[in-house]
Symmetry: D2
Subunit: 177 residues, 4 copies
Amino acid sequence: MSKRIALVSTGGTIEKTYDELVGVLHNRVSVLDVMLAQLQLRGITIDRVSLMNKDSLEMSEDDHDLIADTAAKQAVTHDGIVIVHGTDRLAKTGHRLVERVSNPPPPARPLHVPIVLTGAMRPWEMRSTDALQNLTEALLAVQLLEPGVYVAMHNHVLRFPGVEKDPQQGTFVKRGT
Amino acid sequence: MSKRIALVSTGGTIEKTYDELVGVLHNRVSVLDVMLAQLQLRGITIDRVSLMNKDSLEMSEDDHDLIADTAAKQAVTHDGIVIVHGTDRLAKTGHRLVERVSNPPPPARPLHVPIVLTGAMRPWEMRSTDALQNLTEALLAVQLLEPGVYVAMHNHVLRFPGVEKDPQQGTFVKRGT
Amino acid sequence: MSKRIALVSTGGTIEKTYDELVGVLHNRVSVLDVMLAQLQLRGITIDRVSLMNKDSLEMSEDDHDLIADTAAKQAVTHDGIVIVHGTDRLAKTGHRLVERVSNPPPPARPLHVPIVLTGAMRPWEMRSTDALQNLTEALLAVQLLEPGVYVAMHNHVLRFPGVEKDPQQGTFVKRGT
Amino acid sequence: MSKRIALVSTGGTIEKTYDELVGVLHNRVSVLDVMLAQLQLRGITIDRVSLMNKDSLEMSEDDHDLIADTAAKQAVTHDGIVIVHGTDRLAKTGHRLVERVSNPPPPARPLHVPIVLTGAMRPWEMRSTDALQNLTEALLAVQLLEPGVYVAMHNHVLRFPGVEKDPQQGTFVKRGT
């Protein structure tokens, strides 16, 4: 029986595309569907939720709230949630999810499915990119993990809270490690 | 703390390369190290075990035994085992592993780490291939699964026994489903 | 003013595709249109002539005649002809073209446009391939060359007669060089 | 007998690479040698001249002079010159070459080899790019053209003077057409 996963896209480097007339990379077109078409996905049914397409450095507090609320709402009707997100503010959304969704004030029910955040250091449009690897990992991890909030990237799954981006290494680490 | 994974290669379509002088695909050169170089692998340390490079249709009973025995031996010193294998006889090796390793006759200890088999329907050398997706999935699944024998391919993890290749769909399914 | 080019496809390694159910490369589907879509073609208008899709080792004498006759016919209404061909018998078609088209028995008019043969040592479907390079070269060379019969491959243009495949190097050379 | 070609690199979009720590494309590393390694180059011997690595919008008058003078000097000892250049100021360098090299004030000798400029609208690092196509075309055109100054891009060869970039179409056209 196939699991039903909500795939929430918010933008970030992974979805940046190159505009040849002005010569810059920006978030305009969602390339997530093109990425999905490159994968063979037998274990799951995906519901796409295109929420926004932003460099996460430009996300407002309201944006982080909106992402957390959307994930909470989708969790009611799905077996897991994957969120594609810019890496710069991914940890902020992860911690917001822990507060609101994973460990909510009563009488809300605690989260009963996994929420997996992912992103990329290099856009999918690049010849060499971590985008497909990270999306593949998130879509598999969401089937195997117990309820909680996670980031899956670079063959590594880390559980919130306590996760942060290491800008020197260009990846995520557990705080204090 | 990084997990230590043994990556056992046995050949199969995933490793086939094109010989332009004779115009055929065959198992001669291991391309697994080139694939690994395309991935960012933060969560694990990999020990490579190059066992054989065969189309699995050409594997003998001794070959299946050798693969099972090698996995059993590596399991003693590793946190998980990934086996790259031709898909045509992958299920045969999976079931042999269940007999020998997962559920051994006493006084041998039962398996205490996961063993994940993977392969590909299209060689890594092809422009369009499931090779990197499947390898990515196996390397993540081996970190998240409980002890047992599995196949990870096409965003799907199935546990042995009872797994078989569906040649029409070109993927693995649970027998009777 | 755009030049009008006839692009005649006959098959060969360049067009071979991988059949994952049986695990072999063969000539079944024309991938030439997919290749053309990857190029930006400003200088020319292309008329596609899909003549056959064969490994050239399997071409009969009638096939070589048919290709030469088709090129001759297209030459009347085009500014140049590009023929995509298997490399093993490409030189045979090239010499047939010289006899029939380039230097015909009277009262036929001699060829007044260039005919450029090309092919590939590795299928376009491979991650690493000379297919796009060779097609690019043929489509440019046909705009720049004087009337005659040529092969364009591997950044090299050679004029028939006297051209042969060097199977060791996997390319074309002038006989005796 | 192999032709000797000087390949002069000056930067431009074709050579831009992605810096994942800051998330921008810039001219820092020359990727031209990686591009050359992807091509099979039988007809020519290449001498690489790494002159500068600049977005052509940032070129000074001295830069245009330096490129023209370098091409003139290399023309004495080579059978042809290829210049890799940003497209925004490519036409300026092309016209400078016509003044200085193609049609010099006496007693200098007029140009006796072809000089072919090329570039790209999308960096080679992108999954979808015109970089390899344009480099392939320039390296072939320089073997086939008579002495003069040209741009080769998008399957089109145009001769200077009178060539300009059409920023809407993202390619080069003859002025007034």
